[in-house]
């Protein structure tokens, strides 16, 4: 119990506090916001962003960033549905592992560019995003591969067991894996160490290149997996389906108290950030606030929250 409490550092507590405030405000507006059914539905929607953010967080902890998320999500969704057209309907179960493998491959390329070529991750992953986009357009443009969600994708994304959405269970599994990897394995220690100082980590004998590559592979795999599940949720895979996820994923990680400079942050915070952003978007849309006002409130909320607990230390004086 004390160990759990130790993990609840200030940003995480505040982020969960903001979630409570949102729920209370929502509840005052409409009782429905506090119903179990609504909350479970929100968790289901949050799980896609949550899985993406899990990978993004590992990369951000290193002090890097992955801008290839949008089209890795898309290639994940498209691969998972296109499998039906390759070897027939009986092999559709392979769609999910294949999607994850695709994402991991893109992540491998990202990791190679960042770790070996030493290109800043911000531009290398940006370039990879364009390349993956080109590959998707090239593949889907000439022939039309099957894009309908296969039964297994729907089972993962929209079915429940005892009212518990499978998507949430999947997110929980991914989350526990990432949390254990970050807190209980040498890999996790190295990630934090590199985030604080890659130079010192390298001089201490950590194989920094390997860690960087594993982190980017994790990020790619998570995004592609989320893309496959999104295809199940939306009923089909489509181009640019990952575009709305890049900025919310980064925002969720940072709102959860992870430093964008790396080296600081814990997974519970990311969970809080993901739920916070999903709830905020949902409540604003249920209240039928116009798209323009929604964007403004959304941006202003992030600024206010970061001003409360995300400020840098003073350099001067």
């Amino acid at each position: 119990m004390t160990r759990v409490l130790q993990q609840l550092d200030r940003p995480v507590v505040i982020a969960f506090g903001f979630i409570l405030v949102l729920l209370i405000l929502g509840g005052i507006y409409n009782q429905q916001f506090l119903s179990g059914l609504y909350l479970l539905q929100q968790l289901r929607v949050a799980s896609f962003l949550g899985i993406i953010a899990s990978g993004v967080m590992v990369v951000i902890l290193l002090g890097h960033i992955d801008l290839s998320i949008p089209w890795v999500v898309t290639i994940g969704g498209i691969t998972a549905t296109a499998v039906a057209g390759w070897w027939g309907a009986s092999w559709t179960a392979l769609g999910v592992p294949l999607a994850i493998a695709c994402g991991a491959l893109v992540g491998l390329a990202n990791g190679f560019g960042v770790a070996f070529l030493r290109i800043p991750s911000m531009v290398f992953t940006l370039g990879m995003n364009a390349v993956v986009q080109g590959m998707v357009v090239m593949y889907t443009g000439g022939n039309a591969p099957p894009d309908q969600a296969t039964p297994i994708l729907q089972w993962l994304a929209v079915r429940d067991t005892f009212h518990l959405p499978h998507a949430v269970i999947v997110w929980a599994i991914v989350g526990v894996l990432v949390m254990v990897a970050l807190r209980r394995t040498p890999f996790g220690r190295y990630v934090y160490a590199i985030g604080n100082s890659e130079r010192v980590s390298y001089l201490s004998g950590i194989s920094t290149r390997t860690i960087l590559i594993i982190a980017f592979v994790t990020s790619g795999a998570c995004s592609a997996f989320a893309g496959a599940m999104l295809a199940g949720y939306a009923g089909k895979a489509y181009q640019a389906m990952g575009d709305p996820f890049l900025l919310p994923a980064i925002a969720a990680v940072v709102l959860g108290g992870t430093s964008i400079l790396g080296g600081r942050g814990n997974y519970l915070g990311t969970v809080a950030g993901v739920i916070l952003i999903t709830l905020l978007e949902s409540i604003l849309s249920v209240m039928q606030i116009s798209d323009s006002a929604r964007q403004i409130i959304y941006g202003a909320m992030i600024i206010v929250m970061m001003l409360v607990y995300g400020r840098d230390r003073r350099v001067e004086g």
Binding site: L117, P120, G141, A251, I296, G299, V315, E316
Partner: protein, 334 residues
């Protein structure tokens, strides 16, 4: 004396080799395009190329300033879109009204930049997060101004901006040159501008030396807003309407980062300049022209464009071959 000036020349080349490389690359691409196109160098052709490149060039120039201070402006594309929407609502009527409208559009860009700068300087937020959030706000404001694409702009004013001066020189290029001469160079040479370079090299050293760190950084974001607003103004003149498109804002933001990198500015800050970013932007824009004249299948074009983008930003990897120790790439850390 002689060796001194030679040293100066060498230093100048060393400092500007990124920008020069982008310039050479663009000239080579443009020459290839003209040769393959086979219609010769016509004013119409040059104007088309110029108008296509100048928008990204301005947004990339805007992006250069925060990057020089080792920051980043993820809202620069949204300021571009927001000012486009504002311009499409207020730029019609008699000349004096249009002039006032232009001033208002530019001022709104500066205000957006000032908000970014204030959040970074006084709010002490990380630039990437602060501008990510303000980007959403500016997008919302743009939607508020222009819920659906449309609007208009005084046609004669738009025609002046998008055609040629004396039927020879594209006006947009003249405007770009004027921006460089009247805004960028004075800023770069000023104490505030030099302060931006100093912050990018080492913020604590800059502070210790007595450089007005806050003023320089604030100015960098404000000038970024101004340059993006000039871009938004020209966009309005070209499309004759406003469109609060989050997608186009996002594309401009991301392309601007790529253009800045191709133009030789370091993402770590302190090295480079806005002129390089102009060439970087034109290189990026010329790629699609080349793919067109070489009859590349439309479906394959995005893929090749992506590969070229990846290759262009990866050119920095060549320094890996020169390094004597891996420690050269590893920052000192916090």
């Amino acid at each position: 004396m002689r060796s001194g000036s030679l040293k100066g020349v060498r230093l100048w080349f060393a400092r500007n080799n990124g920008a020069l490389f982008a310039l050479v690359l663009f000239i080579a691409m443009f020459a290839l395009y003209v040769a393959k196109n086979g219609v010769g160098v016509r004013t119409g052709l040059i104007t088309a190329v110029a108008n296509k490149g100048v928008l990204l060039a301005l947004v990339a120039m805007a992006q250069t300033l925060p990057i020089l201070t080792s920051g980043l402006d993820l809202s620069v594309g949204m300021i571009f879109v927001l000012t486009n929407c504002i311009a499409s609502t207020i730029l019609s009527g008699p000349p004096w009204l249009v002039a006032a409208g232009v001033a208002a559009v530019l001022l709104s860009g500066v205000i957006c930049g000032a908000i970014n700068g204030a959040l970074v300087v006084y709010g002490r937020l990380q630039p990437i997060i602060a501008t990510l959030a303000t980007g959403a706000v500016y997008n919302g404001l743009a939607l508020l101004v222009r819920p659906v694409p449309g609007g208009s702009i005084e046609p004669t004013f738009a025609a002046v901006l998008t055609t040629q001066i004396f039927d020879v020189v594209p006006t947009t290029l003249v405007i770009l040159l004027a921006v460089v001469l009247a805004i960028w160079l004075p800023f770069q040479l000023s104490t505030t501008g030099r302060g931006c370079y100093a912050i990018g090299s080492s913020e604590s050293a800059a502070y210790m030396t007595g450089i007005a760190v806050r003023r320089s950084r604030l100015a960098a974001y404000m000038f970024a807003g101004l340059l993006a607003a000039i871009g938004g103004l020209l966009l309005t003149a070209m499309t004759l309407s406003g469109d609060a498109s989050a997608v186009s804002g996002g594309i401009y933001t991301l392309s601007s980062i790529a253009a800045v990198v191709i133009g030789g500015t370091s993402l770590m800050g302190g090295v480079g300049g806005a002129v390089g970013s102009i060439f970087g932007a034109f290189v990026l824009r010329e790629v699609s022209d080349l793919l067109f004249v070489f009859d590349i299948q439309p479906l394959v074009q995005p893929f090749i464009q992506g590969l070229i983008l990846l290759g262009a930003v990866s050119l920095g990897a060549l320094r890996v071959l020169r390094a004597r120790s891996r420690l050269e790439f590893l920052g000192v850390g916090r």
